[in-house]
Structures are given as structure tokens and as C-alpha cells.
Subunit: 132 residues, 2 copies
Amino acid sequence: MTRPQRNTWQREAVRAALAEAHGFVGAQRLHETLRAQGSTIGLATVYRSLAALAEAGEADSLQSPEGENLFRSCATRGHHHHLICRGCGDTRELEARVVEDWAARVGAEHGFSEIEHVVDLFGLCARCREVA
Amino acid sequence: MTRPQRNTWQREAVRAALAEAHGFVGAQRLHETLRAQGSTIGLATVYRSLAALAEAGEADSLQSPEGENLFRSCATRGHHHHLICRGCGDTRELEARVVEDWAARVGAEHGFSEIEHVVDLFGLCARCREVA
DNA sequence: CAACTTGTTGCGAACAGTTCTCATTTGCAT
DNA sequence: ATGCAAATGAGAACTGTTCGCAACAAGTTG
């Protein structure tokens, strides 16, 4: 599953840039940021690194409503959900026993197994609400 | 919000094809189906019609993990969630007061407003499990 | 430290899904 | 029937992402 990996400054740069970003960022934006800082990293590499980080559980990923793949450096280990501000992208990680239980129960009731679930909340944080 | 709309056989064809489909379908697939039935409808029109149906609340939409936009003719009026079989695409509509409440509460706790949420379950239905 | 092996990189081309452009058609109120 | 704006279809254009491949470099080996 986890095949051999080498340490390159590129991978590290992506990891760092991701950690610095607030909330979720897309690959392209991250790439721009890095180039703006003088890095010569390639776009494809950013994609590859992000995918690797996500697979390694070091980053969280989700799809924006526009179909873009967004990533976030992941603090909480393991399964969790998000509350994301539509305005500034600021993100809170959530735990939701209630929802986990509900998902498992409903799945079982319908005879479904291997239940996975997507649960994310989008809203407007206090700060962004004032601005608008 | 709802600007004038005309009745065209194309729109009706999309509505019908969508109703006939089991589970969620993508625009391209729906287009293929229609063409296969002899229709001369254009792909762009299928996209436009689906978007219109979704906006009108007549269809439900969600993003597949591959980033495709999927639609389903919507039985239950208003807000609801889904339990979707990864195998056959069969879909059950769910209501989940628990989840609604949780979402609202958590949003409020964090000072967020205008909370929207995405809650979908993916699993393997009884039939598909046997096959595998 | 040099040679080597093989994962990694960067580039541009290739792709997939979707939207846009625009000339033409068509619904529908008059 | 007539007129006008909405809707259509074909293809070009866009967007986000992945691929192919030659050049490169990390980390091991002798």
C-alpha cells in the first residue's frame, strides 16, 4: 500500500504550503502560491504530492461544489467531518458520534454494508457575515 | 429567481429519461441514452435541462467521487439525503431529523450562519454484496 | 566518493466534464 | 399569421486533472 518514497524538497514544500494555508486549498492555488514565493515546482508535482499526502492520511480532501479537489493539512487523526466557511474557507474539524451512529443504523436497516459517508457543513462564519 | 421557461420536447425528454433511470445518472450517460432512442437532442441541452430541473427542485444532484455531476429525479419534496449503492447505483431517499438538528446545533456553536450540509451514504446493497 | 538504480520531476500534450458562442429554430403571446 | 425572446445544437473553448517521457537526483552499494 505504502510504497517506497523519497524525500524531495518539492514534497516538503507542498507539505509546508499546505500547513500554512488556512482552510482548504486547491492544487492550482497552492501551485501559484509556491511559484509566487520563487519556487520552480511544477503543477503536476503539486497534484502528485497532494494526492500522496491525502493517501498517507496527512491531508484531508474534499470536493468543492465547483468540482475542484480541495486539500487541507489534517490535524485530527482518523475520521472526522468539517464545518467550512463559504466566505474565507476557514475550517473547523468536527466529530459527530451522532452522525456515525445514524449512518451505521440506517445502512443496516436497508441491508447495506460497507457504509461510507460524506458529511460536510458549509456556512458563513461570524466574521464573514459582518462583512456582507 | 425563476425566469420564464418554455415547454420544449427536449426538456420533457430529459425529464422522462431521468425518471426512467434508476439511481443517479450523469449528463453524458443520459445524452447517450436519449440518442440511442433516436432522439436528436444535443448534449448542451441535456446539461441545461438537468441544471434547470435541479434548480427547480425536480431533480436532486450530487457529485460522484470522480467529480462528475449526477442527477436523479426527485420523489421526496424538499430536503433529504441519500443512501446509494456503490454497485448498482440504487438509491434510497432518507430523512434525518437527527442530522439536521446536529448540523444546526454545531453550526450555531461555532457562530456560523446559513448552514448547508452535504450528507450522503455510500454502501453495498444486499444484492450486490452477494454477487461480489 | 563514484557508480548505479529507480523513484521523482517538469514540461507539454492529452483527457474528461462542462460551459460558452452564435447562428438558427421555435414557443407562445399578440 | 407575426414578432420577439427563449431555447436549441454543433463545435469551440475552458477548467481541473492526469499522462508520457526524457532528464534528474535520493539513497544505496561497492
